[in-house]
Point group: C2
Chain length 214, copies 2
DNA sequence: TTATATTTTTACCAGTTGGTAAACAAAACA
DNA sequence: TGTTTTGTTTACCAACTGGTAAAAATATAA
């Protein structure tokens, strides 16, 4: 009882910490094994608690999975809505957009992988969110790019293909990192290598659109 | 006994037909549910045989999974080795390369998805093949692209990023078809829509490289 | 301190699943 | 035709897994 104010009790704080520790563990296990391959036992193990204790915080696996997906999608939408494509300046807009997407791949590699598994599997859980959240945003962005085309700022190509290319390219740095590491002979994509990739991808995309000033 | 020659018995023929029917079923189920989520029961069901009968043809699930991956990777390598990037003519080479990759996405969407699940999950099974088969091919192709750069035919960018972009973009038409269908409001990517995508992707990539003659 | 709410542990189970063993059926061979 | 090889079905099970029930422990409030 009580505690109507804003002060958080020790319990509430610990709860938050533990919940986010669980979510991070779940993210990694789901990314590695997919929904079915991830066991509650292993997720709990990774979070250093018992399986039953995990179930105390997240009543069932579906719920935990949804939370992981929501957190990822939330982070993406937050970051990408901020930058609002500007009608006036394609190059700057695209630079920011690509940079933000690349940073998301770097900062949330596991969430990205869980998302990828989900979509590849037909989006059984995420479909409603894609329709209600992503689609409207997508349609707004399409309009902006169309205005660029009409003003002759960039090449004349259906904007949908343009976005698909950006998404695929940037997300592949999270989703297919394993393949990249094997091919480039690195144990992991280091910080420096990541910013080099960011620059390369940005230039490739600017050229693809014909938005580069050079 | 006997049958040292090349004539195939009815049994052998039926066996081949049934095995490929099983592999097609397995491909679809693995694509949809991932390795762990795919049950032998459901794969058998889809192939219209009993689970035990399935096990008669493929002794265990790991073996079946490996076969599905091998068939896909085999088809890819077959198609892509054929086209051998030509040192002389970047534009034609790239057009063929992109076209081949897009056709693979269209013709083997399920295999592509199984492959994606596998890589995203850390390539536990495919890693050796990536090292022994894909990496050497990759390194040969890198050299060709480098020669283009040195001759000033295309923009100066690390070829690795270039290939990652092509792969990500083309494969996304198989792997993320669900997302694309939701965003473009289509029940499936139709034939016509696919060839439009092929043209768009080709132009985007040619521009990205600065290999377009226009 | 005592009562209450929260958290953790212990014990357990029903459903699913990959796989084995063996009986049974059908085709190919001699 | 009888025999052997190949293919299919039936019966079954051990291991794993998500989840329930409830007891035990710990922290918070009065």
């Amino acid at each position: 009882m009580v505690n109507k104010g804003s002060k958080k009790t020790k319990q509430a704080i610990n709860r938050e910490i533990l919940e986010s520790r669980i979510l991070r563990s779940a993210e990694i296990i789901f990314a590695e094994k997919g929904f079915s391959g991830a066991s509650m036992e292993r997720i709990a193990e990774r979070a250093n608690i018992s399986k039953q204790n995990l179930i105390y915080y997240f009543a069932n696996k579906d719920l935990l999975y949804k939370r992981v997906l929501q957190e990822t999608l939330g982070a993406w939408i937050d970051k990408l809505q901020l930058l609002e494509l500007s009608e006036a300046d394609p190059e700057t807009s695209i630079r920011h957009y690509v940079k933000a997407k690349m940073q998301l791949s770097r900062d949330y590699p596991y969430g990205s992988k869980v998302f990828a598994h989900e979509i590849i599997g037909g989006a059984p859980v995420l479909r409603p969110y894609l329709v209600s959240d992503l689609k409207p945003q997508f349609e707004r962005d399409i309009k902006v790019v169309n205005s660029w085309i009409n003003k002759g700022f960039i090449n004349k190509i259906d904007p949908a293909y343009f976005f698909f290319m950006i998404w695929a390219t940037t997300q592949s740095y999270a989703d297919f990192s394993t393949q990249m590491e094997i091919l480039m002979g690195q144990s992991q994509l280091q910080e420096e290598s990541y910013s080099r990739a960011e620059r390369a991808v940005t230039e490739l995309i600017l050229h693809a659109l014909g938005a580069s000033k050079k």
